[in-house]
């Protein structure tokens, strides 16, 4: 009896909690918080155990899938479980962070009263379907849960639905990701008709015999789904808006788990994407561009959650860049490098989930304390929020890429692999440069945020809190504990490189790797000039932020007060006019077209219908004049008619 046989319970437990809280939560004293904690906690225990089992034994758990619906004699849809090392890693990340966030929420959402019930209902649903997404053994099942996490994201962004901004953001998130989903669906239709099944293994196993053009298109369209869900350029603009939801939601859904689903999908579609060099390059390019432009937008974001949102987009771009590069290298026959890039992407996913989850929860703690999201109104909080500031500092160091923090290991590997691909295709040089520039900007904006929030003169918000007696302690233990745990992981998750044969020995494409010991790896990493480039970038970024926002040696206000920097800053604040463009397409393009079509429907099509009836009425008016009312007229016509018929009959008879 193995624990794996109960793996299907992992999503079921939170879903059970969803049903219980949803129907009975209103009657509970804590509005279902404890049920949610138990449900998600149970799922976490099971998930960690399952993941441990899979990762240690190295066995892929793939029980016989069951037939979900038979569509015809040659098509059917299936449901099943597939846990390989990638799924196991995702299980750890999702379940663990979800549990911490739910625990954190019990305190953070406490002031919401009866509304907590809805919050916990939706969170439980989210955790359940997200875990279901991870466990799926076929693309269809993944898509089903994919849409459901989208629904939860929609509901939770619009949690405070009475705020117009929240309602708008929720709509935008749903619709923009829906565009990606349509692409994903097209990809699924292609695969479904090609293979008559969407099972991962079946598709991976039959790639060589399938039609290569179809596969290339399928890979392209599948990645379209990832563009939407993982907020990649040009569909990235919903994620910053999504910050209208509660901060816990941003941490869980829009940083640590759901947005990673796109990366996970790309990982699942990796063999398909890798069949085409063009598609692989496209994926890498999208990742690189996203990483770069999102980082630029983070540079001057006024809100703490805004910085984190752009940063999330940017880091997701890194992951996609890694996967695209990996697919490209794999396609070109560099299997080992491709596999390593693939692993690096997913390694970054895990590290990012930890440090970004931590940062969001920390931001939540800050907002909880100071009551505002504006960075300019914070400042000097470090004195009052020791735990929050220190744990967030650890995460900032990690994301900036300082050696021996987890972010360094994955980001460095991604950049190294991108550089390696330059040998094959020169475009990767550009991507590498963008990646390095992003690394610099990342270090800068993260520390800008940290310094602005925790150091320097107390801002308006800080003063306000202190003057009014303030909070004596920064946050309840239920909020601080997750911060500390996640910060520990944000520092320490790189150690997974050296447990057993190491991270890359488990997370890879079909076992193409060679294990490195700590010494070997250190030697390899630090002997490469590339590593020093990225360290220099990170250090430079931090230093710049330090002098600008802590020491105030450089006045940020002066720099952006005029000329090109000013215009640039405005452009960045306007998010490169992307929201305007979306609105133009949506309101002016589609809605305008629909209004036109409405006129067409009303006046042309319905006009024809009504026109026919009007014509008939008019024609009737003319013809009815023949009804004189004089009986003798009728009789005469009748007799004439009868005579005519007789004559005709006679003539016809005579002619025969």
């Amino acid at each position: 009896m193995s624990i794996l046989e109960y793996a299907w319970l992992i999503p079921v437990l939170p879903l059970l909690a969803f049903v219980i809280v949803g129907f009975l939560g209103g009657k509970m004293k804590d509005n279902g918080a404890i049920v949610a904690v138990i449900g998600v906690g149970g799922a976490m225990v099971l998930a960690l155990w399952t993941a441990f089992e899979v990762l240690t034994t190295g066995v892929v758990y793939k029980p016989e899938s069951m037939e979900w619906v038979v569509l015809s004699s040659d098509y059917s849809m299936e449901m099943g479980v597939y846990i390989d090392s990638v799924a196991a890693m995702m299980l750890i990340v999702v379940s663990f962070i979800a549990f911490l966030v739910v625990v954190y929420s019990t305190a953070y959402m406490h002031d919401q009263g009866k509304r907590q019930r809805r919050y916990f209902t939706e969170i439980c649903l989210f955790v359940g379907v997200m875990l279901g997404l991870v466990l799926a053994n076929n693309f269809l099942q993944m898509f089903i849960f994919w849409e459901l996490v989208g629904l939860c994201s929609y509901l939770l962004i619009g949690f405070w639905f009475e705020r117009p901004a929240a309602a708008r953001a929720a709509k935008k998130a749903f619709l923009v990701t829906r565009v990606g989903d349509v692409m994903l669906m097209i990809g699924l239709f292609l695969l479904f008709t090609e293979f008559h099944s969407l099972n991962y293994e079946l598709i991976w196993g039959n790639l060589t015999t399938a039609d290569q053009t179809t596969l290339a298109f399928a890979g392209f369209f599948l990645f379209g789904g990832a563009i939407g869900k993982s907020a990649q350029f040009p569909l990235h603009d919903w994620l910053p808006d999504a910050m209208e939801g509660p901060t816990t939601v941003s941490a869980l859904i829009h940083a640590a788990t759901m947005v990673n689903a796109g990366v996970y999908l790309t990982a699942r579609a990796f063999p398909i994407i890798a069949t085409s060099a063009d598609v692989s390059l496209f994926v890498a390019a999208i990742g690189g561009i996203t990483a770069f432009i999102a980082a630029t937008m983070a540079l001057c974001a006024p809100k703490i959650k805004g910085v984190l949102a752009y940063s999330t987009v940017s880091q997701l771009g890194y992951m996609i860049l890694a996967l695209g590069t990996g697919a490209f290298l794999w396609n070109q026959g560099h299997h080992e490098a491709g596999s390593l890039a693939f692993g690096a992407g997913l390694f970054h996913l895990m590290n990012h989930a930890f440090f970004k989850g931590q940062l969001f929860l920390g931001a939540g703690s800050v907002i909880h304390y100071v009551g505002t999201e504006e960075l300019s109104k914070m400042g000097g909080l470090g004195k009052y929020m020791k735990v929050t500031s220190i744990t967030m500092l650890i995460s900032c160091i990690s994301i900036a890429g300082i050696p021996f923090f987890s972010g360094f290991w994955s980001k460095d590997e991604i950049l190294a692999m991108t550089f390696e691909a330059t040998d094959v295709n020169l475009w990767f040089l550009l991507l590498w440069i963008m990646g390095v520039a992003t690394a610099f900007m990342t270090a800068f904006y993260m520390f800008r945020m940290w310094f602005m929030a925790f150091k320097g003169e107390p801002g308006e918000g800080t003063k306000h809190v202190i003057e009014h007696g303030g909070h004596h302690h920064e946050a309840p233990i239920a909020m601080l504990l997750p911060l500390v745990i996640l910060a520990a992981l944000a520092f320490g998750s790189w150690l997974s490189l050296f447990i057993g044969d190491g991270f890359y020995s488990v997370i890879n494409v079909e076992g193409e790797f060679h294990a490195l010991s700590i010494i070997e790896r250190l030697e390899e990493v630090f002997s490469s000039p590339l590593t020093w480039v990225s360290i220099a970038m990170a250090g430079g970024g931090i230093a710049l932020a330090y002098y600008t926002f802590n020491k105030r040696r450089i006045s940020a206000e002066n720099v952006v007060s005029k000329g090109f920097p000013k215009a640039m800053r405005q452009l960045l604040l306007d998010r490169y006019k992307f929201p305007v463009a979306y609105d133009k397409i949506g309101y002016v393009g589609v809605y305008g077209f629909s209004l036109l079509l409405d006129k067409f429907d009303r006046y042309v099509i319905d006009g024809i219908v009504n026109g026919i009836s009007k014509f008939l009425i008019k024609a009737g008016g003319v013809v009815r004049k023949s009804q004189t009312g004089f009986v003798q007229n009728y009789t005469t016509l009748l007799l004439l008619g009868v005579s005519l018929i007789i004559v005709l009959l006679y003539v016809v008879g005579a002619l025969r």
Binding site: Q627, T628, V631, Q632, T636
Partner: protein, 101 residues
């Protein structure tokens, strides 16, 4: 001694034409009604004549039906005409076009 069929047909067609002419041309509505009766009788004569000609009594039965129906019809028609006359104070058919468009 048999009267040849043609004679009877000539008689009935003549009656029919006379009746039809009356229906179309006469102005007095009573006369029109009488002309209709003449046409009916022309048809009845035909029925009886062919019945005898073929030696099949069905025609005669139909003629009887026809006479019965005609009687009922006249009763109804006269009742309508009486009412009409009461209202319109006329028997001139050109004055009556109530069912006009």
């Amino acid at each position: 001694m048999n009267i040849p069929l043609e004679y009877i047909l000539v008689l009935s067609s003549s009656l029919f034409v006379i009746g039809a002419a009356g229906v179309i041309l006469k102005k007095n509505i009573i006369v029109v009604l009488m002309s209709i009766e003449i046409m009916l009788n022309a048809a009845n004569i035909n029925l009886v004549a062919f019945s005898t000609y073929y030696g099949d009594t069905t025609g005669q039965v139909f003629a009887l039906f026809s006479i019965g129906v005609a009687a009922a019809e006249v009763a109804v028609a006269l009742a309508i005409l009486l009412n009409l006359n009461k209202q319109k104070k006329t028997v001139d058919i050109d004055e009556i076009n109530l069912l006009r468009w």
